[in-house]
Symmetry: C2
Subunit: 339 residues, 2 copies
């Protein structure tokens, strides 16, 4: 068997796994945004009958995976592996979800890059011959994230315009060694890039250089150009980070502006919904992928998409200790044809 | 290419990756324990010239990977992927280490099961044709873990006898598609098992059923029996958890007592060093594997080892919210021969 590597950071899947189903469940605010028609379920409140936001987030993950399984007419016992992660300390949303599902479990942490990280490892696991079917899921919850990373909600702090709004939601995908597509055809794995930003209210700027590094390496590795894609969509740079990334890509020699969008920009009506620079959180990239991107691929209005989930790798301790916020970005090519 | 699955939770590697080098760096207390001769470096203090225990832990990871690379006469740029994780919120030790090394990075979280998780995914990535060489590393630090999960050290709390002592240390391994071994031949991936324990000072009991589930599934999947192994070594059950696991294995129909040991038991002189039930932390399984297990395999005094790293999947928030502590255990077979 030959090595499947192309260039420095990319692998080309030999038998591209098929994304046979997805599901997305979002909170009330996300359900009032421009993508509301794409989500499978919209919660009426952000506790969903649980006692805490953290428990709600775990339920979000679990029910989203169950919905994706139902959409594929499969059950937990058909899954060889579960790849998942979230933003909470010790990724408890994911661990408690995995406890409920009983699927052999690889816990991941890539901050908001986790959706693409889970799709990367899930696809490689199938293409490598280790699994027939895997489930990938990530989540975030505005209220559990806000009190962990920033301030208690009761404090009512003002948010600067560069701040982002953590998406409440979970997105899941079922990957299979057989299926009609869309297919995961390339995986480009990111390095940690640190532009020296120390402001946890300006994460778009912290993550943009990592997105640019991964996207430009993807082009160099694969020989693709921006116009080979119908959509290049980053995880959650928000409007501040998206603008920086677009400019930096030009410095790398690629004008992606015609096909470039960002999940954090797309998910809210920013002025009306007061979400400032845009959505963020593991759930942002996850629900925009599982909802909007996947369904447009099925319709054929998109045919080849580069999904780049972007993560800011900080903790409240690292911020207090004066560390900067490094970024990472993982990319997968999702295509209606095997290339 | 045929599917490499054997049984429900195990894969058999087709071209078993070779562990071409390891390295381990430990803190002063670990350096006074019974395994001191096996560690590559022993720190004189637990800050190592840094400003905080968290920064020391990140430096531990970075220097351990660099030492493993040096031992293999390789450099960072030879590595296709870095698989790593740790116990700290948002795995900052691993992320800051990955920033320094510049290797494409998959962040993992499996609590103290992370060393076997990283070896599992690293081995599958090579066997699947996605990489020639990968680095796997995990770490823990007594002082950064204690203040995050339990009490400030200055508080001087009493520890019950079921409590464990988080190991200060990092262990790293370099895996390669070519080499003389030892080889990773089987990977058994754990499910989350929750025995309902709510006491963060009794993690051995919380993790033992997960270890038993993974070990007994490994035997059922592979057809191996306890006497096919020279050593079956769990991550960090400690003496309390080890005794529970040994009893539960008999209920599963396997008497492993002749070849069973635990990293948390082996690493300290428990009475003299006042470490109660034993060592714990991602670093415990990592340094005992990278130090003792690997070097005894090279000597030939061990020839086939089942390494099972065990994790307790809780956070201080989940404990405060009354959740129990589920466990997980991942296993890899490490053998001097390709089977």
């Amino acid at each position: 068997m030959g090595l499947k590597r192309v260039g420095n950071q990319t692998v080309k899947l030999e038998n591209p796994p098929s994304i046979i189903s997805t599901a997305s469940i979002v909170g009330p605010k996300e359900g009032e945004g421009p993508l509301k028609e794409y989500f499978d379920m919209i919660l009426e409140d952000d506790l969903w009958g649980t006692e805490s936001w953290e428990k709600c987030e775990s339920k979000l993950q679990e029910e989203t995976v169950r919905m994706a399984l139902t959409n594929a007419a499969l059950s937990e016992s058909d899954m060889n592996y579960l790849f998942s992660g979230d933003l909470l300390n010790q990724i408890i949303s994911s661990s408690y979800c995995a406890r409920q599902l009983g699927i052999p479990y690889f816990g991941l942490y890539g901050a908001c890059s986790t959706m693409a990280e889970s799709l990367s490892l899930g696809a490689m696991t199938i293409d490598g011959g280790f699994a027939e079917k895997v489930a990938c899921v990530t989540s975030s919850h505005f209220s559990s994230a806000e009190r962990q990373f920033r301030y208690p909600l009761e404090f009512g702090n003002q948010r600067p315009f560069s701040a982002q709004w953590t998406v409440t939601g979970a997105g899941a995908a079922i990957l299979s060694s057989s299926g009609e597509g869309p297919f995961i055809t390339y995986v480009t794995t990111g390095k940690v890039i640190d532009p020296g930003i120390k402001d946890a209210n300006n994460m778009g700027a912290a993550m943009a250089p990592a997105a640019v590094d991964t996207i430009s390496n993807h082009f160099r590795d694969t020989g693709y150009n921006p116009d080979d894609y119908d959509l290049i969509i980053t995880g959650d740079l928000g409007s501040v980070g998206k603008s920086i990334a677009s400019d930096l890509m030009k410095e790398e020699g690629y004008d992606i502006s015609e096909v470039f969008n960002d999940s954090g920009v797309k998910i809210f009506y920013h002025e009306e919904q007061d979400t400032h620079s845009g959505g963020s959180g593991c759930g942002c990239s996850a629900v925009v992928f599982a909802g909007y991107v996947y369904k447009e691929l099925l319709k054929g209005s998109l045919n080849r998409v580069l999904l780049i989930s972007t993560g800011a790798l900080h903790s409240s301790i690292s911020t207090q200790q004066g560390e900067s916020i490094p970024g990472i970005a993982h990319a997968v090519t999702i295509s209606n044809s095997i290339e």
